[in-house]
């Protein structure tokens, strides 16, 4: 059974990685902690689920899988909206107010989700069922989970290449390292910020869309992933891509193994690990 637990841990890690990567990009480039990030994840999930249900039972699989991307697109749009109306006016304001406005956005979005999709659960399990199970070391394992892991890996790789090898990516990193210097060098902070925010939101939406075939989309379902993403950021370090990876792996595996060995306190176990890391290295593993 152990290989299964480890695989589950990798699956959790993959999902949390996408969410915390998005959170960290926004945090790193704009210095803003988006408390509504979990709502964008939920929007991605609801949209993807709705799309699959709307396409109907008979729709061919080559339409079903891409329709998951509708979640990414909608989450990105909401991110764009949020950035323009709520974040940009707050650019020079104090941190407390920035956090508070994203909190306001969270409350708003939770009800917007309710307004659009109602209060019921959305199920869209076809993408999951269609892939069946693969045998790994003698144990049957849902292949869809492997797909999610691969998608997360690809996304991570693309982001890495983007951040380190493209001009825009380098600019984003420059801004996250030293805002003032970046402005002095003539970089358009506002446009870059918008881009980062939309990218981060898209990643959250992607995570939600990928997850929804495995579970039901329900109200309030962005809350727990958000907290786990925060723990990843705390463990891995603010604004660090490597940190998001390392933190996600730790969180994912702890959760997976914890659920089996210490089901009641697996969250407490996670916190214990985080506390130990923080006492030893207050900025997080890869933090500045």
């Amino acid at each position: 059974m152990w290989p299964i637990y480890i695989l589950n841990g990798l699956y959790f890690a993959a999902v949390i990685f996408l969410i915390s990567l998005g959170l960290n990009i926004i945090l790193g480039v704009m210095g803003i902690l988006n408390l509504a990030h979990g709502s964008l994840y939920a929007i991605g999930a609801f949209m993807a689920a709705w799309m699959i249900v709307a396409l109907g039972e008979g729709a061919p699989m080559f339409l079903i899988y891409p329709s998951l991307l509708s979640g990414v697109v909608l989450a990105a749009f909401f991110g764009l909206f949020m950035e323009y109306f709520l974040i940009r006016p707050m650019y020079k304001r104090a941190l407390e107010y920035q956090l508070l406005i994203t909190f306001g956005a969270l409350l708003l979005l939770e009800d917007v989700i309710k307004m659009i999709w109602g209060g019921e659960a959305y199920y869209a399990s076809r993408p999951f069922d269609a892939l069946g199970k693969i045998h790994i070391l003698g144990n049957p394992y849902p292949a869809y989970f492997l797909l999610v892991m691969i998608m997360a890996l690809i996304a991570g790789l693309l982001i890495w290449i983007f951040m380190f090898k493209t001009r825009i990516g380098v600019m984003l990193r420059a801004i996250s390292l030293d805002r003032e210097m970046a402005t002095a060098l003539g970089l358009n902070i506002h446009k870059m910020g918008t881009f980062a925010f939309v990218l981060g939101s898209a990643l959250a939406g992607l995570a939600g869309a990928l997850v929804v075939p495995t579970t039901a989309a329900l109200l309030g379902f962005g809350m727990e992933p958000l907290i786990l993403a925060f723990i990843v950021v705390v463990i891995g370090g603010l604004g660090s891509l490597k940190g998001a990876l390392a933190g996600s792996l730790i969180v994912g595996q702890t959760r997976s193994i914890g659920i089996v060995l210490f089901p009641e306190i697996e969250l407490a176990l996670l916190f214990l690990i985080a506390a130990v890391i923080l006492v030893a290295k207050p900025e997080g593993l890869f933090g500045r």
Binding site: Y97, K114, V233, V234
Partner: protein
Amino acid sequence: MGLKKVITRPKFIIYLFVILALLFLPRILSTFNLILFEYGLTFAIAVLGFNLLLGYTGLLSFGHGAFFAAGAYGVAMIAKYFPGLYSMEILIPSALLVSFIISAIFGFLCVRHTRIFFAILALALSMLVYALVFKFYYITGGSDGLSVKIPSMFGMTFEGIRRPQFLSGIYYYFLLGVFVFSFIIMKGIVNSPFGKALQALRDNELRAELIGIRVRRYRLYVFIISGMFTGLGGALWSFINGHVTPDVSHWVFSGEIVYMTLLGGFAIFEGPIIGAMIFTFLKLYAMGSTEYWMFIIGITIIILVLLLPTGIAGGFKKLADRIRE
């Protein structure tokens, strides 16, 4: 400053009026509104503590719900497991003790960090409390929560008395007394040399350290004091609510505490109290009008942040300053 001078200052006269008005409130308000007002008072006590940390020391915590829960659950657990000790004289100190312990632990972990890290860590820790309360449902009642019956107070028992009657009678005056007492204590802290040191470390941490102020240590003290005030608010709240559930430890509830403080204005001492009062009535009104009350509250937050950065009390102060000119 002699006593005579203090008494004739305009602020003191306003306070006097307010207290007199509050004493007569049970005669003016309906029971429903009075109870709502009492909810507001418990939040006011909680945010008085919270603002010591935010307004005066410059640290934003999105996890103060955990201390509110500490106070409330402290009361509820005694009700369930130590009914023989269920009297106000024991309950209030116990709530303070529990919130002291939890805020000391959280504070120790959090004050080594600042700003965003601090906010996230406080948030995450409060969610840990939330999760634990859920998981250990056989002790804490889980999502069903625990009930909080009317305690005995100073030798008086209230068998057979219904809660609204208790709340509009002796409990109101008790609560008012605790509120005034908390107000005076917090005023004392803020005006003392310690309060001045807090403002210095909020303004310029480096220089504060260099004039001999132990920044981390004092942040921890403030964290604990603010946690205890919030826990006291939670305990007093539990008697009104009659019931405690894990939601009070959820970070969204902590966010409401932040909102109340900023709504009133965190730069003015009385600001958060006004914010707590307004929010209590605002939330009830919103919940009563529509199922999408979170949307409404969310919009008010956004409007507040964009248009009224100094909060309502801050807005009034600006107005008053302008009139004075």
